[in-house]
């Protein structure tokens, strides 16, 4: 029998603290679909996805109902299409993307990740075709997400790829100008991209992953914030060490719930259970914000001095609690700071607390990077590439994943607001100071070599 305290705490988490599972992502290998014929490839992809994913959404709904815990997103991640479609022509890549889009819709998921390439050390023919087609794919499909790994601690930074991605972001924005450049919200540029990340837009199924696998993202910042608020209401004087302990325990609990649900979904679908991603992923609702957690920790707003330290504390405590709760931790695992998806962050930009430079500093201690940041539409591709290079360098040198998902918003500038809708939220445009000052640097091309710390064997 459980103690009354245990039962009541659990009920509070379920009823009043918005405990949920952020995403259940089914990874499906498409390696056995490879074909030199586009129609044949698309047919095989369609058959494979249907076979594995047909029951994903109903199964998730059934298990969510059984436990009374919502599963917010149901998604798919597939083998990088650059590898699967390597033998096709550039135009045929579009057909493959459209097949992915259609079949994702048919099985009822909201996104499919894996329109991806890994080019940290160099390009194959297929990698180039994939990158070239990203703008058209993101403009002409609804559910397909693209990601490109341009750097790693082992390989360094492929600056040719960085420039190409700067141009791809710019072009994607142009092609989706009527939606405030929304196509860019489905495109991530990575350093040290994890193979088992369940979160979009960066999810794909790595080469070392099994045939089918369930990866899961745990509940968001709302639960942590409520626990902190409750502790801070007690008359006891708490130190930051005490608060870190509270975050750790909360992370333990939400991870346990995530793993329970993931294992059950995996078992029902007869695929392997992969990992639990411990990331605190905010949503554009009040009370579900990483920024609000930092305010609980005594900062006026995210972005003020102390923010990096507070975020480091949060990120570390979440990892420690989660790692104790599950021995299958993976993905990105840390606090996300996606500006448009976190209402509080978006406000912090508007109020002038949060700048691009501070966001970059925060990414040195959080799990991902410059995420869902709306920038003026006039910023040129080379400047975007230079921002990418800076962020990649943080990941490469610090042996961590970093990523960039910036959205140049056509026709809008600092002070304006970009509206993406739904989980993508809305964001005030962030100033990009000193644009047009980096072009010669990024145009050198070649590769920034791997750091000395990469030689570890």
């Amino acid at each position: 029998m459980f103690s009354s305290e245990e039962i009541i705490r659990t009920l509070e988490m379920l009823k009043n603290e918005n405990l949920d599972v952020r995403t259940v992502t089914l990874g499906i290998s498409l390696r056995d679909c490879v074909s030199a014929n586009a129609d044949d490839l698309c047919q095989k992809i369609r058959k494979k996805i249907k076979c594995y994913a047909q029951e994903l959404v109903p199964t998730c709904e059934q298990i969510a109902k059984k436990y009374g815990i919502p599963i917010v997103n149901k998604r798919l991640a597939v083998t990088p299409i650059a590898a699967v479609a390597e033998s096709l022509s550039e135009r045929e890549y579009i057909e493959v993307a459209q097949t992915l889009d259609r079949v994702a819709g048919e099985v009822g998921v909201n996104f499919i990740g894996g329109y991806s390439a890994l080019v940290q050390k160099g390009f194959t023919k297929g990698d180039r075709f994939l990158i070239n087609t990203i703008p058209e794919v993101l403009a002409s499909t609804e559910r397909v997400c693209a990601s490109v790994n341009v750097a790693s601690t082992r390989a360094g930074i492929n600056m040719d790829a960085v420039l190409l991605m700067g141009q791809a972001i710019k072009e994607t924005s142009r092609r989706t100008a009527d939606r405030d450049g929304f196509g860019c919200a489905k495109l991530v540029v990575f350093a040290n991209m994890p193979e088992d990340n369940p979160f979009m837009a960066g999810a794909y199924l790595g080469y070392g992953e099994p045939e089918g696998v369930i990866n899961v993202g745990v509940s968001g910042p709302g639960v942590v914030k409520k626990e902190l608020e409750r502790a801070l209401q007690s008359p006891k004087k708490l130190t930051l060490g005490d608060l870190s302990e509270i975050i750790k325990k909360t992370s333990f609990r939400v991870t346990r719930v995530g793993e329970l649900i993931a294992r059950e979904v995996a078992q029902a679908l007869k695929v392997e259970f992969g990992i639990v991603d411990l990331s605190l992923a905010p949503s554009p609702t009040v009370g579900d914000s990483v920024g609000e957690i930092l305010q609980c920790l005594g900062l006026t707003s995210i972005g003020v001095p102390g923010s990096t330290a507070a975020l480091a504390l949060l990120n570390d405590a979440v990892k420690k609690g989660g790692a104790f709760a599950s021995s299958s931790v993976g993905g990105l695992s840390g606090a996300f700071i996606p500006v448009s998806e976190d209402l509080n962050l978006s406000q912090a930009v508007k109020q002038g607390y949060l700048s691009l430079e501070k966001l970059e500093a925060l990414t040195a201690v959080c799990s991902v990077g410059l995420d869902m940041i709306a920038i003026p539409g006039k910023v040129d591709a080379e400047t975007i590439a230079a921002i990418l290079a800076d962020e990649m360098a943080i990941g490469v040198i610090n042996h961590k994943t970093t990523a960039v998902r910036v959205i140049p918003v056509p026709g809008k500038d600092v002070g304006d607001k970009a509206i993406f809708g739904g989980l993508f939220g809305e964001a005030y445009i962030v100033n990009v100071p000193h644009a047009n000052c980096s072009s010669p640097f990024v145009r050198f091309g070649g590769r920034i070599p791997a750091p000395i710390t990469s030689i570890k064997n």
Binding site: R9, T10, L11, L14, K65, R256
Partner: protein
Amino acid sequence: MEEGIVISVIGRDRPGIVANVSRVLYLNNCNIGELTQTAIKGQFAMILIATPLQKEMISGLKEDLQNLAADLDLNINLRVVRKTELTPFASAETEPFVLTVRGEDKPGLVYGITEVLAEHGINITNLDAQTAQIGEKVEYIQFYEVDIPQNLDYRMIQEKLRRRGEEMGVIVDLQHKNIFQAINRV
């Protein structure tokens, strides 16, 4: 046929009750298998299952227990059961849930809830009712562990219990036991 004995003991709580009962069983060649004991507000209650090593000892045991009950002012009851009766109640396949009832204490609360459970063939495996401090309030809380047959719609049961709770002015929650296990146990 192989037999077992079930003994229940109720009385004013004090040191020595378990020692006295188990001594009588030992002297009558009985082996205690399972036992559970609790005390609420100074009232002692125990149920145990024992196996007599020699069947003919049972009548002597009964007499000894009656004498002990008289000496210590306890209610002791002995029931001989077939071994086949010593298995948990099994309906069809079930799922374990935790049912919580919170609110002001009043007559008929337990009946109100258990009536719904009984109507649907839901077995209670554990039940505990107590007053507890919740924030600044003292609340009356009942915790039930129940097995819900898999062929029943949990949502329907949840809704019926919630409505019954509303009628009685208490909050009723029904959640799968695995969630409590996952969140609270290392």
